[in-house]
Structure formats: structure tokens, C-alpha cells
């Protein structure tokens, strides 16, 4: 019968074992139930914001914003994003002047004024991105299903930006054994509807003019808008990772110091 070993040696493994168990449990508990097991493999893209030191590509975010504004915003609202967010650090980082211009392109309802009437005025930095429809019912009436708000869509779907990119680039003709209902389109990535989605393919090559000369293929536009949607969902990503690095460094140093303190204190007991 094997002995457990000295208490000191064994219990040192406590934290690494727990960490491994925690991360293992995360992997175990969640992988089989994921939608991706029923759908096609999603392309895993090397996003610039991946990994512990990832950051957003400013130009990509600006291109992505243009795609959202010119294509997606026709149907999809973004209730939690304000024009002023476009100028904040860690995002597309437009200038204050550019933000003012972009905001002024839209009209916003305001009021009531002194005579009790609602009125329209040009948008300002503090305004929310405009909603294409007055309410969800009006939105649903157009295509049969309400287009979801896109503010946090990159966190609301398994696979995040990879899923969004895969969805936008996977529209194909329906296979022979699938009959499309009226208003339905075939997209194998859309497992939530078993491959049938109410949104028609929103992108086509050359649809959005890119000022920086990047080729505006469907794949490129999909990547750019997916990255932009990741930013709208996680605008503090860069601050989070930077602070995380500093905190980790500090904690490792602290743990090291406390370890030596512990050894010193316990020296005469061992």
C-alpha cells in the first residue's frame, strides 16, 4: 500500500492540481454541448486581439465600422454603443472631430421642446447609435424574425468573432434534401435554425468602399466587421489585458516573496 508522501511535498501540488481541474472541468463541461459539434468546423482566425497580449487593429476596426454603418445598421440596432465610444482609447480611435461629423450624419429624435413637441436634430457624440426600427415588432415584421441587437453579439454566440465571420461567409445554395420556407436562406453555420436563416446574405464583393485600399472581398469585409463587433462587445479588452499582465507580474512576485517568508518562518519547525 503506497504511502501518501510527506505533507509538504504533496500539498504543494494543491494549486496546480486545482487549476488543472478547474480548466479541465471547463473544457469537459462545455465542449460536447456546443452548437459547433452539430455544425461545420468554424475557421479559427488569428485575430489581432487573440492571446494575452492581443490588441485591436485600429484600421480594421474603422473598416469594420464602415461595414456595420453601411450594411448592417439598416436592420440591426446597437443600443449600448454611443458615438463617443468611437473616440475612446482601445477602439477605432476616431478623432473628436471625426466623431462629431459621423454623429451629425444621423438625425435623432429629441424633446419635448418648450411647446411640448418632439423634434429632430442632428446626432451628437453622446447619442446612441440609431435604431433602424421603432420597436422589436416593427423589426420582426420585415423578415419574420427580429434582427438581434449587435452590441454584444460577439459574446452572445459560441465561437464569438469566428462564428460571425463563418456565418457571413457560408451562405450557399440549399442541398437537395432541404426545402427552404418562404423568406428562408440556407447557411450551414446557423445551427440555431438548423441551417435556415431569415437574414439574406448581407455582403457581396466590392460592396463597401475601403479608404485605405484594402481589398473589399466578402471574406475581408466579414473579418473587419467581426473584429468591429468584438470591440463593441468588449471595448475594454486592451486595458484588461494590459492591467492583467501587470497584475500577474505583481502576484507572481508577491507569491515568491511570501513563499520565502513562509519557509523562513517555518524553518525551525521542519
Amino acid at each position: 500500500m503506497s504511502k501518501i508522501g510527506t505533507s509538504k511535498m504533496r500539498s504543494f501540488l494543491v494549486l496546480p492540481v486545482i487549476a488543472a481541474a478547474a480548466l479541465g472541468a471547463v473544457a469537459l463541461s462545455y465542449s460536447p454541448a456546443k452548437a459547433s459539434s452539430e455544425g461545420p468546423e468554424m475557421e479559427k482566425i488569428e485575430w489581432s486581439f487573440n492571446g494575452p497580449f492581443g490588441t485591436y487593429d485600429r484600421n480594421q476596426l474603422r473598416r469594420g465600422y464602415k461595414v456595420y454603418k453601411e450594411v448592417c445598421a439598416t436592420c440591426h440596432s446597437m443600443h449600448f454603443v454611443h458615438f463617443r465610444n468611437l473616440a475612446e482609447k482601445g477602439g477605432p480611435e476616431f478623432t473628436e472631430g471625426q466623431v462629431k461629423t459621423l454623429a451629425a450624419e444621423v438625425t435623432v429624435q429629441d424633446g419635448p421642446d418648450a411647446s411640448g413637441e418632439m423634434f429632430e436634430r442632428p446626432g451628437e457624440a453622446r447619442d446612441v447609435f440609431p435604431s433602424p426600427y421603432a420597436n422589436e415588432e416593427a423589426a420582426a415584421a420585415v423578415l419574420g424574425a427580429p434582427p438581434p441587437d449587435l452590441s454584444v453579439i460577439a459574446k452572445a454566440r459560441e465561437g464569438g468573432p469566428d462564428y460571425i465571420h463563418a456565418l457571413l461567409t457560408s451562405y450557399t445554395d440549399a442541398p437537395a434534401d432541404v426545402t427552404l420556407p418562404a423568406g428562408g436562406h440556407y447557411n450551414p453555420v446557423f445551427t440555431a435554425g438548423s441551417g435556415i436563416i431569415a437574414m439574406p446574405a448581407p455582403l457581396s464583393d466590392g460592396q463597401v468602399e475601403y479608404e485605405d485600399g484594402t481589398p473589399n472581398t466578402v471574406d475581408q469585409m466579414s473579418r473587419d466587421v467581426s473584429a468591429f463587433l468584438m470591440w463593441t462587445a468588449e471595448p475594454k479588452l486592451e486595458q484588461r489585458k494590459t492591467l492583467g499582465f501587470q497584475v500577474m507580474l505583481y502576484l507572481v512576485a508577491l507569491a515568491g516573496l511570501l513563499y520565502f517568508v513562509k519557509r523562513k518562518v517555518w524553518a525551525d519547525v521542519h
Partner: protein, 426 residues
């Protein structure tokens, strides 16, 4: 160990205060001079880690409550407001959300430590029971808290769990309506869950005080499971020995915590909870947070609704009577070779139950030739069966049948014996 207080007030103010409200004496006797067995290993640091977690959750929670709005139309937006506009709001929110998971990681380690080393056995029965009570309060607190962001999982998790109360015969429907404050989960439900979520952590803190008090009456258990015989040889003062060890353990724990908060803040969560709650659309898979999965699996293992509820609550209820189920005279699994094996099987069963809870019940694990096969529900039933077998059958029987190993004479001997044999081997 309740013995003579060794506190000696050093200055005039300390003497003055000590005569009126001996707090310094209490702190000194409980956390400075308190005799701690010298052979405790790192599994014993999780009590301190749990106190750290409770403190972090209360601190971040109170701050979040300064910005959160408990109304169905505004709740989700208020959380996004915290994430985007409030200074460091994203940090406080991620610490609180991941802190709940860290709290449960620590409490499971703490509980399994108790099971392995027999810390629930006499004279520590009340200590154990208070601990199970804390665990129950933690689960309720976590349940209330998860509803607050008002995502799809928040709403539907609340609906499923409150519906369970409807299974109780006669009064079930009334109780369910009473819990809801309406005919379904809605604004009244959200508001009261917010109030209770704020309240319960302070109930937890109160029971923790009782828990530590009960601990100090009997003294800690230790890896050898042998009681302290001579405090001078077997124990060391809590400060600085246990204080620095707990401090080191906390810093290591914080490293894991920081990994989740800064580099994987949504890894332990569900994407569906970033979709605003929709009472007219059920998500494809309703799953509770990972730390409730084993009980969810037990609930779904029983085909009958009321039966599932009873079995699920029994799984927790059985923990309360554990001290009387185990008949062994030996505490620590270190000296119980047979029990030790069953212990690890039990750990595997609990992890397995957690896995089952995350799957759809009809997912096939082993396909049979005729189609269908051994599915998740079958596995959940086997593992639930083992869970109860372990406590209700194995615990009593083992105590009577097991040949235990020879116990060391004292803690000091167990510490010295190891170093003696180690140096003999060297």
C-alpha cells in the same frame, strides 16, 4: 482549543479597552496565539482563502449595487453601463462574476478536504453542519445573483428552479406564485432576488463566525487525524505560522483568479446570458452555472418531477447527517486505505455528475448496434446512485469492516516520524 488567554495588554489604551470590550484579546486569542497543529498541509489553507473570497464578493457586490438597476427593462442595460461607462466597472464586474466561481472552487476543495481527513467526525459535527449550512446559503446566493443580469440563462434558470417548488403537492402552486410575486418570473421576482442577494452574504458571514467559533472550541483537525496531546510539542502559534502560510496560499489562489478575470473572463460562463431575457423564447440548452451542475444532473436523473426535486435536495440533506453515517473510529483517510479508494471514486462521480449536468439528457455516450444506446441520463442515474451509495451504505459499512493502519501516537510523532524515516532512507 479553549485554554487560558495569553493576551497581555501592552499599553494604557489597550488595558483600558480590554476592561471594557476585550476585542483585542479576542483577536489575539483567536488569530495570534491560537495553537495550531504543526502538521497541517496546504489543503488547510482554504478556510482562509474562502474568507478572502467572501470579502472580495461583498466588496465588489456592494459597489456593483451602486450602479445596477433591478428592473427588467433596465437591468441588462445597467450591467452594460457598468462594463462600458463606470470607471473600472468592467474590472469590478468580472471580479464579482469570476469570484463566484472561485468561491465555489475553494469551497469544494475545502469540503473534500473535510471528507478525506474525517474533519466532520466527533467532536466536530456542529462545525461540519455549520459548513454545510454555509454551502447551502452560498448556492442560494449564487442562484439569486445569476438572475440579476437578466440574460436568457438568468431568466430561464430562475424559471426552471422556481418551477421546482411547484412540484410540491398541495402547497406547491401557492409557494411558486408567492416566490414569483406574479404569474411568471418578472419584475417583482427580480427586485426581491436583488434584495435577497444583498442580504444572504451577510447571513453567510454570520454563520462563518459561528463556524470559526465552533472550530476554535474543538481545535483544528489535522492530516494525521490524531488529536493534539501536548500543545507545546504538537502545535505552533497561529501567527506567524498559519498566517504566512495562508497568505502564500491566498497569493497563489489570486494568480488563478487573475487568469480568469483578465485573460478568460467569460470562460466559465454561458454565451446565452449575453442575450437579453426573452420570456417567449427558451434557449436551446438551459444550463445552470458549473458549480450547480452535479445537482442539476441528479434532478434530471429521475423521470418524475417531484422525485427529482426530492432526490436533489436529499443529496444536500445527506451531508448534514454525515458525522453519524461514518462508523469508523479512524479519522484520516491517510490511515484508511480502503476508504481512500472510495473517496477518489466519489470525487470522480461528482465530477462525472457535473459533466452530465452540462449535456442534453439524450446525448448518446456509447452507441448500441440497434441505434440509441447508453446516454447521459443513464450515466447520471448510475452516478447519482453511487453518490447515495457512498454516503448511505459505504460509510457505515467501511467503519465496521475496514482494517485501518496504525495511527501515530501524536502529531509531533507523526511529523518527526516522517523526517526520521526520510533521513533513514536518504
Amino acid at each position: 482549543m479553549s485554554g487560558e488567554s495569553t493576551y497581555n495588554p501592552g499599553n494604557g489604551f489597550s488595558r483600558w479597552l480590554d476592561a471594557r470590550l476585550p476585542v483585542m484579546r479576542l483577536v489575539h486569542d483567536s488569530f495570534v496565539d491560537y495553537p495550531t497543529p504543526k502538521n497541517l498541509n496546504y489543503w488547510w489553507t482554504f478556510g482562509g482563502v474562502l474568507s478572502l473570497c467572501l470579502g472580495i464578493q461583498i466588496l465588489t457586490g456592494i459597489i456593483l449595487a451602486m450602479h445596477y438597476i433591478p428592473q427588467t427593462e433596465l437591468a441588462f442595460g445597467s450591467v452594460e453601463h457598468i462594463m462600458r461607462d463606470v470607471n473600472y466597472g468592467w474590472l469590478i464586474r468580472y471580479v464579482h462574476a469570476n469570484g463566484a466561481s472561485m468561491f465555489f472552487i475553494a469551497v469544494y476543495v475545502h469540503m473534500f478536504r473535510g471528507l478525506y481527513y474525517g474533519s466532520y467526525k466527533a467532536p466536530r459535527e456542529v462545525l461540519w453542519i455549520l459548513g454545510v449550512l454555509i454551502y447551502l446559503l452560498m448556492m442560494a446566493t449564487a442562484f439569486f445573483g445569476y438572475v440579476l443580469p437578466w440574460g436568457q440563462m438568468s431568466f430561464w434558470g430562475a424559471t426552471v428552479i422556481t418551477n421546482l417548488f411547484g412540484a410540491v403537492p398541495l402547497v406547491g402552486e401557492s409557494v411558486r406564485t408567492w416566490l414569483w410575486g406574479g404569474f411568471a418570473v418578472g419584475d417583482p421576482t427580480l427586485n426581491r432576488f436583488f434584495s435577497l442577494h444583498y442580504l444572504f452574504p451577510f447571513l453567510i458571514a454570520g454563520v462563518v463566525v459561528l463556524h470559526v467559533w465552533a472550530l476554535h472550541v474543538t481545535g483544528q483537525n489535522n492530516p494525521a487525524g490524531v488529536e493534539v496531546k501536548d500543545p507545546k510539542k504538537d502545535t505552533v502559534p497561529f501567527t506567524p505560522y498559519a498566517t504566512v502560510k495562508d497568505g502564500f496560499a491566498m497569493s497563489m489562489f489570486l494568480i488563478l483568479f487573475a487568469y480568469f478575470v483578465f485573460f478568460n473572463p467569460n470562460g466559465l460562463g454561458e454565451p446565452d446570458n449575453y442575450i437579453v431575457a426573452n420570456p417567449l423564447k427558451t434557449p436551446a440548452h438551459i444550463v445552470p452555472e458549473w458549480y450547480l451542475l452535479p445537482f442539476y444532473a441528479i434532478l434530471r436523473a429521475v423521470p418524475d418531477k417531484l422525485g427529482g426535486v426530492i432526490l436533489m435536495f436529499s443529496a444536500i440533506a445527506v451531508l448534514f447527517v454525515l458525522p453519524w453515517l461514518d462508523t469508523s473510529k479512524v479519522r484520516s483517510a491517510r490511515f484508511r486505505p480502503l476508504y481512500r479508494q472510495f473517496f477518489w471514486i466519489h470525487v470522480a462521480a461528482c465530477i462525472g455528475l457535473g459533466w452530465c449536468g452540462a449535456q442534453t439528457p439524450d446525448t448518446i455516450i456509447i452507441h448500441s448496434a440497434s441505434g440509441g444506446g447508453f446516454d447521459v441520463t443513464d450515466l447520471a442515474r448510475i452516478l447519482s446512485g453511487y453518490y447515495f451509495l457512498h454516503f448511505l451504505v459505504i460509510f457505515p459499512l467501511l467503519g465496521l469492516k475496514e482494517k485501518t493502519r496504525a495511527l501515530p501516537d501524536s502529531i509531533a510523532d507523526s511529523v518527526l516520524g516522517k523526517s526520521a524515516s526520510a533521513s533513514a532512507k536518504a
